[in-house]
């Protein structure tokens, strides 16, 4: 068991959706000479039992006019310290004049400095991390990412936990893994939001639906080093087991449909459904994932071909009212 250090910072930037450039706020690794915010934020990898120490940094060359923080839904015992204070204490909601201002300890707006969160990642699974401050605005603006916690032995061939999501005997062994983070974007809101200014969330009306921050067909382009670095295309060979790790970082429930394929739900909210001889996994052709929830789906395509995976709320499959677009990707199966 080790310690995983990550330093993140927040920066405004631009993403491209259906050919349009849209402003957003993203997490990025701190101290990079040319920090590039990204959507979703950097994927943080750990092994069950690891200590995670995640520092949110605001640097002198990039002050931010809003309070900033990170919450870790599904993690227990999160502690926090304001750097350089040596003492950690339990992270907790913050109040000003009796009114809650943040779901957790935060860095005050405009302040240069750092806040460090730490916790032991006890359970394997894929989890969201996201802003706990002005969340309705900041999460929509892009401040979310994923932490993947592997079981011990995940990378060791021959280990009983090798390439399993939750360890041996949890029906989670797979050959290919793909993280699919769902979300929706209101481009009018993104245009009008500036740090520190009020935004009326009653006006929230998303017009782009994204997987890993991209709309179709950009969603099936390869990973790159842009502000939308993660592709969603899945490639496998016949017979391979594909684990889809679906996390909904948006504010709306989304229904991912597999078309002809049927998968097996092996975990919900990072709780495996099969433990020892008690097998509560179940098969589904479409899964509805609520905001903030996650689900792991194991699919073994039965023959070569292209299989689209799409939001069954069909009007989310458009860019500017035109099909195809939006929340869609595909699995390509080769012999």
């Amino acid at each position: 068991m080790g310690t995983v250090f990550s330093s993140l910072q927040v920066a405004p930037g631009f993403i491209t959706l259906a050919g349009k450039s849209i402003s957003f706020w993203g997490y990025t690794y701190a101290y990079h000479p040319r920090p590039r915010p990204q959507l979703p934020g950097p994927i943080i990898q750990a092994t069950a039992g690891d200590f995670l120490r995640i520092t949110l940094v605001v640097r002198p060359n990039a002050p931010f006019a809003e309070d900033l923080s990170i919450i870790f839904p599904g993690q227990e015992g999160v502690e926090v310290r304001h750097v350089p204070a040596p003492q950690f204490r339990p992270a907790q909601p913050q109040y000003a004049n009796g009114k809650m201002v943040s779901l957790t300890d935060y860095l005050a707006a405009g302040k240069i400095g750092a806040i460090e969160y730490r916790f032991r990642a006890l359970r394997p699974g894929a989890y969201l991390y996201e802003s706990g401050t002005n969340s309705a605005k900041q999460v929509q603006m892009g401040l979310y990412g994923v932490i993947v916690v592997r079981p011990v032995g995940y990378h060791q061939p021959g280990h009983p936990n090798f390439r399993t999501a939750y360890g041996q005997n949890t029906a989670s062994r797979h050959d290919i893994e793909k993280i699919l983070v769902l979300g929706e974007i209101d481009s009018a809101m993104h245009k009008s939001v500036v740090p520190g200014a009020e935004y009326n969330l009653l006006d929230f009306r998303p017009d782009h639906w994204v997987i890993n921050g991209r709309t179709f067909p950009a969603s099936i382009a390869p990973d790159d080093n842009s502000s939308q670095p993660y592709g969603s295309a899945i490639r496998c060979r016949l017979g391979q087991r594909v684990l889809l790790r679906i996390l909904n970082a948006g504010f709306q429930a989304h229904t991912l449909a597999l078309g002809a394929l049927t998968g097996r739900v092996i975990a919900e909210d990072a709780y495996p459904l099969k433990i020892g001889s008690s097998d509560a996994t179940y098969e589904k052709t479409a899964v509805t994932v609520g905001p903030g929830q996650s689900l792991d789906l194991l699919v073994t395509p039965p023959y070569p071909g292209e299989f689209y995976i799409y939001d069954r709320e069909y009007r989310h499959l458009v860019n500017d009212n035109q099909f195809p677009g939006g929340m869609m990707t595909k699995i390509t199966v080769t012999p």
Partner: protein
Amino acid sequence: MPTVELWAKDGYLSIPDGNSIYFWGFARSREGKAQLPGPVIIARQGEPLTVRLVNLLPEPVSLSFPGHIGVTVDGSPARPQYEDGKLVSFTNHALPGESVSYTLVPTSPGTFLYESGSSPPKQVPLGLYGALVVRPADYNPEIEEYKTAYGYGTDTAFDREYLLITGEIDPEFHQAAAEGRPYELSRYKPRYWTLNGRSAPDTMLPDNAAHLPHQPYGAMIMARPGEKVLLRYIGAGTAHHPLHPHGNHTRVLALDGRLLRNGAFDRSYERFTVLVGAGQTYDQIYQWFGLGYSPENPIPTGLPNLRNLGIGDAGWTMWSGSPYLGLKGDIPKGVVSFNEEGEYYFMLHSHQEFQITNWGEFPGGLMTMIAVYPHLSPDIGVLK
């Protein structure tokens, strides 16, 4: 090999508030009327099924069969269709005036949806969807143990079965389609909600009601006390609907046509309300026993709550006037009873209450009744 014909064409739906809605649907023949939902297709596990689609609409139309692998067209696997590199259909389509035949061998029994796989943001909400019911390989309605949803020994036997297919209608969206105008999907706002293509109270009318030529399927649930009623819910629209029967809970047996059972482990569960998700299916058993009901003592409760019995304006009721099943009693002067033979009525409705209206007017939308009869013909509650 059974062959089913589906003719994609247009028509008009009737809404109980008097509105008439343009839609696209499937008909059984060139002369047949487009219907919502499309014709129910009944297939058998392991037996090839061929569906021939003829497209009389002005753009490419296709059929996708979610949850079914191995669909072939002219002997080759069905595949996505592109035009200039741009995706047009999730599967092989028929151009206007042309046809395409799909062949599949259902591997799993259960309840499934079929729907258009071409421009689905437009075509599916416009009405190009229907139900595919797959009987287990050993299905035999003459023998109790083999009249099941998922096969002998799966604890899915039933006495009667009903399909309940949910949908939504945004009149502006349909009107735009009628006029061939583009529609800004971000403005999409349903005003009508349908069960088997009808809005309440039309849901309670019989199948093939003469004045609903494009909406042939009723949604009235009828059974006798204690009978196992198989409810097959399908979410054919793009929204989720919390459906909720009065009178008893349901036991959810299967999702998306897959039995909730892992070896000896029975994963079925009881629910008060089932959230019918877009594109998903739910097979359930509903049984009405009543409180202390028995044939010797047919009184289930005290005086029934009128809220469960009456629907519509004061002045008419579905109550029999008697708390005894099968008996009629006195009705207050001036009140008309639509009760036929002392049956009980329980509502089945969406718990998202604005969906039990027609454009805001209660009663309407996603609502129907469950009627418990003292006697009932075996021909009722049979899918054909």
